[in-house]
């Protein structure tokens, strides 16, 4: 089978604005999938609601487009039900860090074998320009009329603190690095967070493509991604934002491996039906 980026594209028109950062990220992701030779039928794209959450509809593979903020519990369950599938979550900063903030924390504790790509454009795009959890302090919007007063959410520092097993940031304007990081994230066993700086051309006039370009730089080759304390320190940088793999640790068991259901039976959950004899045994044991 010949793999190429085109085979992961869906034919329909994409309802993103011309110049939206989602296009670059989508195109890089498709190239990465081709280079890793993952057949579309082995992929599941999962999302919540928002502009980024449209990505599964535009990408060939299985798809679960669920509730706003609730992509991660669904992704975890898909991974547990059929561990042979590669689960890629794609949603925005509002969906993942705002409405879904609690799920974001819970998944890092569970360590499901999923990739969590967050299109971080630092604004609510679909609902037309309200501040998101990652909006910069002082940014004026139609509802933060005097400027944002919240401290911006720092997803990388939170993820490193919570013990996420793979934590990275990319800017798709840096294509070579984005590709490399996404590859590593997809190949990582366990929960992989990839926070992606994407520009919203319509609703965020502060964090433009140019702004991201000027405010990002690559983590040095000398950065040791197994050094958690250093990773945390680098995640706190806020004038210039490093990109690359901040933290990565292999070998921690993933969620489905820890599930009691798999302890004595490797059969994936989705293949199992009710074993009436077993049910009788369970009920008898309660008598």
């Amino acid at each position: 089978m010949e793999f190429n980026a085109k085979m992961y594209d869906m034919p329909q028109e994409k309802a993103w604005c011309p110049g939206c950062g989602n296009f670059q990220l989508h195109s890089i992701l498709r190239e990465v999938l081709a280079e890793l030779s993952i057949p579309p039928q082995e992929l599941v794209f999962v999302s919540g609601i928002g502009q980024a959450a449209k990505l599964p509809q535009y990408t060939r593979g299985h798809m679960f487009n669920g509730l706003h903020g609730r992509s991660l519990p669904a992704a975890m369950a898909i991974n547990a039900a059929n561990p042979s599938l590669k689960v890629i979550v794609a949603s925005g900063d509002g969906c993942t860090y705002g409405e879904g903030g609690n799920h974001f924390l819970a998944q890092m504790q569970r360590n499901p074998d999923i990739v969590n790509i967050v299109h971080n454009n630092m604004v609510y795009g679909l609902t037309k320009g309200q501040a998101s959890p990652t909006s910069s302090k002082g940014m004026r919007t139609r509802v933060q009329v005097d400027g944002v007063t919240n401290e911006p959410f720092n997803p990388l520092a939170v993820a490193i603190a919570m013990g996420a097993t793979f934590v990275a940031r990319v800017f798709p304007g840096n294509k070579a690095q984005t590709k490399e990081v996404l590859k590593q994230a997809i190949q990582h066993k366990g929960y992989a967070l990839v926070d992606c700086f994407v520009q919203c051309v319509a609703m965020n006039k502060v964090n433009t493509f140019q702004w991201y370009k000027e405010h990002t730089y690559e983590l040095e080759a000398s950065h040791d991604p197994t050094d958690r304390q250093m990773a945390f320190q680098r995640a706190l940088e806020s004038e210039q934002y490093p990109t690359g793999v901040f933290y990565s640790v292999e070998g921690r068991p993933v969620f489905w491996e820890e599930c009691a259901a798999y302890r004595h039976n490797p059969e994936p959950l989705f293949r199992r039906s009710v074993d009436m004899e077993k049910l009788q045994d369970v009920l008898d044991s309660k008598a």
Binding site: I49, L67, H68, G69, G94, G98, E99, G101, Y124, L126, T127, K128, Q130, A131, P133, R142, V143, Q144, V145, D146
Partner: protein
């Protein structure tokens, strides 16, 4: 004085005249313009606007603000309204006044952002857990988006109960001329029940928990008596119903189309009238019975018969056999022509 505004903006203008102290909300289409107006105007008035992290956050911020006796509100739609139901149950249980505006979109699930009236049961029958009711008001114009928001605050404080303004995407997004209200709404003093952390309110306790089952039951009976007493505040519009042979009944934006159908049918010689519910809870039972007595009834709604079921429930037994339904869903409106056709069919007349 008049202003040409969107329905969603009119809500916030009404809220300001009602003395709204705080708005807590999370963005969602087609309700976001209410938050935009709140963010623009409330801080200028020295009041609070806060964008919450989610709708569960919004309603719980309201739980706090309402406990302090403040006039607070939120607005949302579809999935966001569903998320607020748990909090509404607590507010009702704790007898707290608060206003939530539901700019209905389609469902179930994600649906789309077109107009529908499918949240009727959720609002009117109470979408959360337990034996409670929310006051529900249904505007049918930009003017009423403003006026009924004021009324919602008034009733919420009169009964110490959450009130929902049940609008829809058409009402939220359309622009009309708005006659600005006169004078500020006066609401009863809250010091007898609110908790402000001062000497005056020190004896007060806000709670929805009664661990002794008999006390919980007593609390429930008290709430039911309160809901029954709300019948004093029903509101409805009867238009050309007195000599009518057929009553078309509807609420919200759907009633505007029904009203035009009534006028057109009259021109054709069909004696039609309109009965529009303005309060959905308390339901205008007496008014409906009077308007519909001995007449055929056509219910028009943008949902699966939820309003029709309430019409049937509240009509005297003898009137129930003459009720028919015309409805659309999914974001479609009912064409006036379709209402006319259905009415003619029921009356056995040809166009």
């Amino acid at each position: 004085m008049k202003k040409f505004v969107k329905g969603n903006e009119a809500v916030m203008i009404g809220a300001l005249y009602a003395g709204c102290d705080a708005y807590f909300g999370y963005p969602i289409t087609p309700a976001s313009e209410i938050a935009h107006a709140a963010a623009d105007m409330l801080p200028q008035m020295g009041k609070v606007f806060l964008q919450a992290e989610c709708e569960t956050g919004s309603i719980n911020m309201m739980y706090g603000a309402a406990s302090a006796g403040k006039r607070c509100m939120s607005a949302s739609s579809g999935p966001g309204m569903s998320l607020m139901q748990e909090g509404l149950s607590y507010l009702a249980g704790a007898q707290l006044p608060a206003v939530v505006v539901d700019v209905q979109r389609t469902g179930p699930g994600l649906g789309n952002i077109g107009p529908e009236q499918g949240d009727y049961d959720q609002a009117v029958k109470a979408g959360g857990h337990g034996n409670y009711k929310c006051i529900v008001l249904a505007p049918a114009s930009v003017q009423e988006m403003c006026d009924l928001t004021i009324r919602a605050f008034e009733l919420a404080f009169k009964y110490r109960n959450p009130a929902i303004v049940l609008a829809d995407a058409v009402l939220g997004q359309m622009m009309e001329s708005l006659e600005l209200p006169e004078g500020q709404l006066q609401v009863p003093d809250t010091k007898d029940w609110c908790v402000r952390g001062d000497a005056e309110t020190r004896q007060n306790l806000i709670a929805s928990i009664y661990l002794q089952i008999d006390l919980q039951e007593e609390h429930n009976w008290m709430l039911q008596r309160k809901y029954e007493s709300m019948a004093a505040d029903t509101q409805a519009q009867s238009y050309l119903t007195e000599d009518a042979d057929i009553i078309i009944t509807a609420y919200g934006s759907c009633a505007c189309i029904a009203l035009s159908a009534v006028d057109e049918l009259r021109k054709e010689g069909v004696k039609a009238g309109l009965f529009r519910s303005i309060t959905l809870f308390p339901f205008p039972k007496e008014e409906l019975a009077q308007a519909a007595a001995g007449k055929k009834v056509l219910v028009a709604e943008l949902s699966n018969g939820q309003y029709r079921d309430d019409v049937l429930l509240h009509l005297p037994c003898e009137g129930r056999g003459q009720v028919e339904l015309i409805n659309r869903m999914g974001g479609n409106l009912i064409r006036m022509e379709a209402i006319k056709e259905k009415a003619r069919e029921m009356m056995g007349v040809k166009a």
